[in-house]
């Protein structure tokens, strides 16, 4: 699920790769200026591909593998503390 919409992707690949393949070009907007960002390093050092996975925000989608039933949300600006419990 990406932002509530079901998405079918091949398992066993990094989440960031799967999302890019599925056509997601903007992964998040920065908390500072709202500028669009997308994966840059694919190896866990740039933190540009941060997404919310199963309710946990700021996950590096390049370091996490796609699993069945994953609920992913893109992050718009800073994470919402209220929504994440």
């Amino acid at each position: 699920m990406l932002d509530g919409d079901p998405l079918r992707v091949e398992a066993g690949q990094p989440l960031a790769a799967a999302l890019m393949k599925a056509g997601l070009s903007v992964f998040r907007r920065t908390p500072v200026s709202g500028a669009p960002r997308a994966p840059f390093c694919m190896m866990g050092v740039c933190f540009e591909c941060l997404v919310e996975i199963d309710g946990v925000p700021n996950q590096q989608s390049c370091m996490v593998e796609v699993r069945e039933g994953m609920r992913v949300r893109v992050q718009d600006g800073a994470r919402n503390l209220e929504a994440t419990r």
Partner: protein
């Protein structure tokens, strides 16, 4: 994670290895061969590091495309599986104490391990290339594009332009061509004058001719494919609104604009020193590799006794040299805890040292030939240097004028380096920019102080540490 602590000593392992790339796999297997109880921790789901990423799962056709240098990783990974090393993947190390206690998170829970000797094979990362527009979606490091190919078989869609210099740039260009990408141009930023710097080192490099032959082969392949080449490019800008649309630059006195859907940047790789900086290890600025290197001895021991850093995390030398240095670090660790005696250690080390020399010969030539241009650390004022906090080059220069002497002061005043990447993407640029502004050496200017956690982790993960029995049994369940 099912971990038992030796009640007498308080240690959980003889040797812990952080990182499952060539240096880490080699270190872990070698230490196990000498009877050490070894654990290997890696963030990724499978062994390989970045160079051999996904090698145990990549389809045969993809492995074929990536070539024998990549396939070498399968052999290492298979041997690791049979070696008796306790492997913990999906495990992120987020703190290491001065007593070498390792705190790591797996599946949302943290746990602590304590080895007698710690080998941190944390590898390299690509040097940041702060040029205008480098934060736009569609701009990736060239190595990132290669990781996408290795891990999911995908290539960038549309016109792809590669920008920068170095062996990896050429390799990625060739692999993308083979994989069906549309490589619109190769824009080399390497100054022509580098050739003169490199020439005196060609003789030594040619003693290990395989590297030079590979390089020549890549260049030939790109020429045959008709990929447009630009040399000594400068004043590079990436244009676009919510994604890349074009690349503009000057080369040979003319201005060039190329329409692009993806731009891949590369200016070589540098040691990832985040863990070394966390532990306040001694570092030296290497003016040939233009990078920080943790100081290590012949057995790769750092300024913190018991902590060893082999492989590209210590100094860039490539995957084969990393295997050798990993083994040497393991021999050092095994000797330090009495698993091998001095004479055996020296005897066993001989072959590894020979290999290390063999694979290091080409390095100086490559370092000089592909030395990044000076302008890379003198970006135009509006260029973002700190991607996380969006601090531009003009602000950093302004900080220097205000009197900030080093990166930490600059960080306090401008937030540069304070975002989630914790300075990984800006530290090296900021240190070099401040050194230039103050007419000091980079060594004098220093680098950011790094604090735990090394990666953002949920508070719940730390809370679980308070009751180790709970965290361990829970983690164990998830492993089973």
């Amino acid at each position: 994670m099912n971990i038992s602590t030796d009640p007498g000593s308080g240690f959980t392992h003889d040797v812990i290895v952080i990182g499952g790339g060539p240096a880490g796999m080699s270190a872990a297997m070698t230490a196990a061969e000498y009877g050490c109880k070894v654990a290997l921790l890696d963030e990724q789901p499978r062994p390989g590091g970045q160079i051999y990423r996904n090698v145990t799962r990549a389809p045969a056709a993809l492995r074929e495309l990536l070539g024998p240098d990549y396939q070498r990783g399968s052999g290492l990974a298979e041997r690791l599986q049979r070696s008796g090393v306790e492997c913990h993947f999906d495990t992120t190390v987020w703190d290491v104490g001065q007593d070498l206690t390792v705190t790591a998170q797996c599946h949302g829970r943290s746990t602590q391990l304590r080895p007698r000797q710690l080998i941190a094979a944390t590898g390299a990362m690509e040097r940041p290339s702060p040029i205008p527009g480098w934060t736009l979606p569609g701009v990736l490091n060239a190595g990132a594009a290669q990781i996408l190919l290795k891990s999911s078989g995908t290539v960038p869609s549309g016109a792809t332009v590669l920008v920068g210099g170095g062996p990896l740039l050429l390799l990625v260009a060739c692999q993308l061509l083979d994989a069906g990408a549309r490589v619109a141009a190769l824009v080399q930023t390497t100054p022509t004058s580098n050739l003169l710097r490199a020439l005196p080192h060609l003789g030594r490099a040619s003693l290990t001719p395989s590297y030079l032959a590979k390089g020549a082969g890549l260049l030939q392949k790109l020429k045959r494919a008709g990929v447009p080449f630009y040399r000594d490019a400068r004043e590079i800008r990436i244009e676009g609104e919510s994604g890349v649309s074009a690349l503009t630059f000057r080369a040979g006195g003319t201005c060039v604009s190329i329409a692009a859907d993806a731009v891949l940047l590369h200016h070589g790789v540098v040691p990832n020193t985040q863990l070394a900086r966390l532990l306040r290890l001694e570092h030296r600025w290497d003016d040939t590799q233009l990078a920080w290197q943790p100081c290590v001895d012949a057995w790769f021991e750092t300024s913190l006794p018991g902590l060893r850093i082999p492989g590209d995390g210590a100094s860039i030398a490539g995957a084969l040299a990393a295997e050798a240095s990993g083994a040497l670090a393991a021999l050092g660790a095994a000797a330090a805890i009495g698993r091998v005696d001095c004479s055996t250690q020296e005897r066993e080390a001989r072959a590894w040292r020979k290999l290390l020399r063999k694979h290091s010969r080409v390095r100086r030539f490559l370092d000089e030939l592909y030395r990044p241009p000076e302008w890379l650390v003198a970006p135009p004022d509006e260029t973002i240097v700190c991607r996380c906090e969006e601090v531009d080059a003009g602000t950093i220069r302004h900080m220097a004028i205000l009197g900030c002497q080093g990166p930490n002061q600059t960080k306090f005043f401008s937030r540069c380096g304070m975002g989630p990447c914790q300075g990984r993407q800006c530290a090296i640029t900021v240190s070099q920019m401040l050194a230039r502004a103050h007419f000091k050496s980079v060594q004098e200017v220093g680098s950011y102080r790094i604090r735990p956690p090394l990666k953002p982790i949920p508070l719940g993960s730390i809370a679980a540490l308070a009751s180790p029995s709970v965290s361990r049994s829970a983690c164990k369940e998830e492993f089973e």
